[in-house]
Each structure stands twice: as structure tokens, then as C-alpha cells.
């Protein structure tokens, strides 16, 4: 459970930082008036949707941290046999990076008001994300054909479970991306479009980060890394 505890510690650190800016030591019973000196305390200047997405990403991060924790705990049992990762996953990783870059470009273009580049970026991101999903399915198929079935070893089970969960989150993201893309073609208000593109970019970068982390986990590098950390600590 150490991975999830480290993750929660990070969240707690952030929450603590935020709380420390809320004047928790104020004496509200002595303060009357508009709190005019503390307008900044009323709410954040960030768009509400971005804060909402941020909170959601914390929940998603929590989910994957828990899967990772379970992975390490189950790994310690002797029947664990790591499976060889298909080379295709490297290609998929590249495609997902491309998808993220395309959305970043779209996001920059939206800030500058270049609608054509926004459309190009959104379309590229959508297509590459679809390509990533297809690539993942092909990797699954390759593994099953080689006899690495879901239930034959816990390492396989975790591989399918975690990549599947990540893929489902990409599918969910594609719904949002699809709506934003449709808006880009149907003349959505520029500020609305910009917000939509920025939200998509934020989600995509996060899922790319999650993918890199679970790729490292499934390839066994994460376990090596943790072993090194453990040795340093003891």
C-alpha cells in the first residue's frame, strides 16, 4: 500500500498548501464586513471547469495508484511470472505522445486564435488517440495468440486490467474531444473553444503520464526503481 500512501501524501501536501492560503487562523467571530481585503479568498481565478477536471484527475490518479499498490502486493507471491511486453507498445507510446503534442499545439493555437491550426490539432489528436487504442487491442491480441491469457497468470491479469482501464479512460476522453472538435467546426464561441481545447490537452497529458508510469510498471522498471529506493533507505 506504499504507492497509494505516497500518492495521498502528495495530495495532502497540495491540500495543506491550499488550506494555508485560506487564513485558517482567522477569527471570523471578530471580523465583520465584506472581507474586502481578502477578495482573493472568495474563489480561484482559474476557470471552474479546469478546477473540476483537476479534482477528477486526482481521483483518476488515486485509482491508478491503487492498481499499482495491488500490483506490487500481488507480485510478491511466488506464482508471479512476468510476461514479455510486445514491441508494439513502444510504437503505441510514440503515437500517444504525438496525440498529446497535437493537443498542445491546438491549445497554443486556440490562445492565438488560429482556428485552422486548432482544427488540425484536434483532428490529429483524435486520430492518433484512436490509433493508440487500436494498437493496444492489437497488442492484446498478439499476447493472447502467444498463449498469455488473462487468467493464466496474475502478471497477465494485471496487464490486461491496467491497460484496459487506461484505454477506457482514453475512450471517455475521446467523447469530450469529439464534442470539442465538433464545436471547432460548428463555430463555437472562441473563449469556449479555447477552454474546451485546454481541458482536453490537460486530460491527455495526464493520461500520457499515467501511461508512461504503467508502462514502466508493467515492464518491470518500476519494481527495479523501488528496489533501489528500498536499498537506499535501509
Amino acid at each position: 500500500m506504499s504507492v497509494i500512501l505516497v500518492f495521498l501524501l502528495a495530495i495532502a501536501g497540495f491540500v495543506g498548501w491550499w488550506l494555508s492560503h485560506q487564513r485558517l487562523t482567522a477569527k471570523p467571530w471578530l471580523e465583520q464586513g465584506l472581507a474586502g481585503d481578502f477578495v482573493a479568498l472568495d474563489r480561484s481565478a482559474l476557470p471552474t471547469a479546469k478546477i473540476g477536471l483537476g479534482v477528477f484527475l486526482a481521483v483518476v490518479g488515486c485509482l491508478f495508484a491503487l492498481f499499482t499498490s495491488a500490483y506490487f502486493m500481488r507480485m510478491a507471491v511466488s506464482d508471479w511470472q512476468p510476461l514479455p511486453l510486445p514491441r508494439l507498445l513502444w510504437f503505441n507510446t510514440g503515437v500517444l505522445v504525438l496525440s498529446s503534442i497535437a493537443l498542445q499545439c491546438a491549445s497554443v493555437a486556440a490562445r492565438r486564435g488560429q482556428l485552422d491550426t486548432v482544427r488540425l490539432g484536434l483532428a490529429t489528436a483524435g486520430l492518433t488517440a484512436l490509433a493508440f487504442l487500436v494498437g493496444q487491442l492489437m497488442a492484446w491480441r498478439q499476447l493472447t495468440e502467444d498463449g498469455y491469457l488473462l487468467s493464466s497468470n496474475p502478471a497477465n491479469s494485471f496487464f490486461y486490467l491496467i491497460t484496459g482501464m487506461h484505454g477506457l479512460h482514453i475512450v471517455g476522453g475521446l467523447v469530450g474531444l469529439g464534442r470539442t472538435t465538433a464545436g471547432a467546426w460548428n463555430g463555437a464561441r472562441p473563449e469556449r473553444l479555447r477552454l474546451g481545447v485546454e481541458l482536453c490537452a490537460m486530460y491527455w497529458h495526464f493520461l500520457l503520464f499515467v501511461w508512461l508510469a504503467i508502462f514502466a510498471l508493467l515492464a518491470g522498471w518500476a519494481a527495479t526503481f523501488i528496489d533501489i529506493c528500498r536499498q537506499l533507505l535501509t
Binding site: L5, P28, Q32, G36, V55, C62, A70
Partner: protein
Amino acid sequence: MVDITPADGIPPAEVAEVELYHPHSWWTKYVFSQDAKVIAIQYSATATGIGLVALVLSWLMRLQLGFPGTFDFITPEAYYQFITMHGMIMVIYLLTALFLGGFGNYLIPLMVGARDMVFPYVNMLSYWIYLLAVLVLVSSFFAPGGPTGAGWTLYPPQAIMSGTPGGQDWGIILMLSSLILFIIGFTMGGLNYVVTVLQGRTRGMTMMRLPLTVWGIFTATVMALLAFPALFVASVMMLLDRVLGTSFFMPAISEMGEQLQHNGGSPILFQHLFWFFGHPEVYIVALPAFGIVSDLISTHARKNIFGYRMMVWAIVGIGALSFVVWAHHMYVSGMHPYFGFFFATTTLIIAIPTAIKVYNWVLTLWRGDIHLTIPMLFALAFIVTFVNGGLTGLFLGNVVVDVPLSDTMFVVAHFHMVMGVAPILVVFGAIYHWYPKVTGRMLNEALGRFHFWVTFLGAYLIFFPMHYLGLMGVPRRYAELTDMTIMTESAHHLNSFISIMAFIVGFAQMVFLFNLIWSIRHGREAGGNPWRATTLEWQTPQTPPAHGNFGKDLPIVYRWAYDYSVPGAKEDFIPQNIPGSFGPSKEPA
């Protein structure tokens, strides 16, 4: 006295008006509504409905325990199914949904001065997914083999084996699917509650001016958003074990002399995941109750809450601590003694912030102008019950005391007192308190007092004797206790007595439900602010509040939520949206 209104007058309200969604038909106004108040009522009604099922299940269990052998249809299998569904429904589908989905939806926008939740559409989806989860849960009663009988903790391997009711039938599959749906729905709602508190607050409503109700619900929601994923992960993995034959939790095991295909899985892993959710869950239910009860006591004792800052810190502190105590539910699973020591220590440390809260409630009452209204009665009953249940928690937090008591009725009595009866008393108090705002009418006073006394005394008569049974060694989870040597004749009599009390208390809840329905039409007209309370929900132009809550202009907040009996003020309360200073408020000692 600090008057912090800027010298050059009040700047114009810079509250960004949200684009309020406008319903066009009866369906979008009352059924597929995006108005948080309607969603709150939908949540509450659904939770109450499924809660009634759980109440009936508890009656059936008590029939078996109080009068063993009398009722043929209660087989051991059926008993396990009752116990499982009763626990799961009460903890998750009733209490969590009611506190966060019900009270959260109704009170957060009104109390922080918002027109609605920040993502109304997602909020609506949240309810419908919750309803779907409830329907899937109910459907398991009609599935072949019936609902799961694995115990509400669903421990593998027994949960998915053929010896357990529903283990190899539909029961466990429907249970896990329902939980997964619930968590998805809750996450949608939870995002709304958190972000509305962050971004929906009206001008002048700083975090340190929020009523403690909002602090409680806010912190509980943050915890739930971080804890429910653990249940989600556990449910998905167990579902795969059951349906696709993986071995996440299932060790090599044989059943009826036949070797199952599972191999090497770790049941302890499930317990870690489950209790990583399960312990915060206790406080997800308790923190909203703490918050609400603070407001009830302050309002009905006409006195500012004692130690507001400390109350906020305690809520946040309890929330953080509750994530590092989960393994105290697993002392009997076998663990390294140092781990046991660590978790016992963290568990007992939680007593400090909780005790601070109890002292502050009592000191708020001290020399207050106590009005023994029904909400106040329930609030007082909560304090007593919570202290009572908390004290037995100090017993069970210690490894050496927990191990012999763990499988006895003592534990049942402990958690029913602390997270069953105590929060439910707050729910009742809160309903008596806010019903006039929701419907515009008061609940019937006489029926309310009857409901209070029967519920409060009855609940004590049910759960207090259970401590004695537990100390005698009477085990929990047993469908049949007749032939055990520890079951003396007096113990049997006590069991029958508890069962009879359970029926009486359950009957009082029917009276309460009748009161809820009857008073919608026949209750006394309440007016906008019958309790003369300070918080924003009582200052709305209409009662019940119209769509958009606050008429043309959002309120502006000039003071904290507890200006009761301020010396020099005309009335004994000053609403949060009234400007000006009225002499020094009392400073806590």
C-alpha cells in the same frame, strides 16, 4: 472588533452570474431536473426507500436471533443474505447517499450562496446512475440464488464460492456491479460538491465563514473521492476473479473435493483494499453529521459555536488521520506486531480531534439559551450516543482487547452506536430542522416528540445490552445460537428483548414517515426562517427556495454563520447577509 468593510464603500458584487439552466417541461423540472434541490429530494427519497428495505431485513434478522427456530423461512443462507444486504445498504446506499447526495445537494448551494451546483448536468447524471445502482442491487433479491450472503465486507475467497449464498450465482456479480455503478455516480456528484464549495461561494463567503455543515460535507466528499477508488479497484478485481477466473484474490483452493482453477491469489490484498476504503467511509458518514450537529446546537442554543477554528481544524485533521488507520479492522487477519502497534496508535490519536469536537459542543451548550426543539433533542441525543460509541472504540482500537472481542456482539454494538445510531439521529434532527425550508411547513410536533423518545431510548435498549452479550462471548454472524454453552437462559431472554425493541423502534420510523408525508399538506405554515437562524439558506426570498435560490441578486456575506445573541443587537441573531457591526461578539475563552 474589526470592521473590515473597505473605507470607500462596498465595491459592486463581482459575482459572475452562471448561465442557469431553465427547465421547459414537467419532465425536466421534476424528473430529469438539473436543479440541485430537486436532485437532493430524489436522492433522499431513493435512499429512504432502499433504507426501508434494510430496516425490514434487520427485523428479519432479529426474528431469527430473538426467537430461534420459530420461523422456518429464515434458513442460515437467508440469514446471511439479510445480514449482508442490511449492512451494505445502510452504510453505502442509505447513509453515504443521504448525507452527501441528499443534504450535500440541498445545502451546499444554498449555504454558500450559489444559484446551483457548478456542473448541474453532471449532477443530474450522478443521481440517475445512483438510482441504477440501487435497482441493480434490488434486482439481486429476485435473481436465481438470491442476493449475496458474503457479509458486507465481501471477503474472498468465501464471497465467490458455492458455499456462500449468491457466490456462484448472480448475487455477488450484481452486488459488485452495483458498487461499481455507485462509485461512478458518486464521483460525478462528489466533483460537484467539492468544486461548488471552492468556486460557487458568494462574495464575502470566505472558507472561514462557511457554516460547519458545509465544512463537514466538503471534507467528507474529498475523503470519499479518494477512498471510493479503493472499493472500485477491489470490486473490479473480484468481479474478474468471479467471472473470468483470474486469481487476484483467490488462492489455490478446492471446493467439494474439486481443485478450482485459481492459484496463488491473496485474500489479504482484498482486505487491505476494502478497509482502505472502509475506514474513511466511517468518517465520510460521521463528518457531515459532526458539521450538521454543530449548526443545530448553535442555532437551538442561541449561542455562537464554541471554538469555530478548532472545529474546522478537527474536521480536517480527522479526515487526514482516517486514511492511516485502516488495518485496525484487520488485527485478527494476522499482522506484524509493529504494524499492529502503529495502527493502534493512529487509531487512538483520532480520539483527540474527536474529543475536541465533543468538548466544543458541550461548551456551546454551556449557559446557552437552550430550546428543547426536536432538532435540539436529536442533537443532544447524538452527543451522548457518539460519546458512548466512541468509548467502546477506545477498547477495540487496542490489539489485545480487539482480538478476543472481534467476533462478538460487542463489535456489532460498537459500530451500530457510533456509525449507525449516531449519524441517523443527526439525519433525523437535520430533517426536522430543514423540512420547513424544503416544504414551507413544520413537521408535526407531537408525532416528532414521540418519534424522538422511542427512537432514542429504543436504540439504547437495543444496542446497550448487546455490549453485555458481546462481553459474555456471544458471537456475531451466527444464524443459530441455541446450542451454545455461553447462551445462558438470561442471554436468550436478552436477545428476545432486543428483538422486541427493534420492532418498536422500527415502528416509530413508520410514524416518522407518516409525519413526513402528512405534514407536506397539513403541517403548520413555517414562514421563511422559523428557527431564526443566521445561515444563508434561511434568507431566501421564497420558501421553498425557487429555482436559482436567491431571486435577482445573490446575497453578500458580511459575517460568520454564528452571530447569535450578540450584545447590542436588536434580535438574538444576525443573518450572514446583514451588514454592520453590533458591538463585540463573544470571544471564546
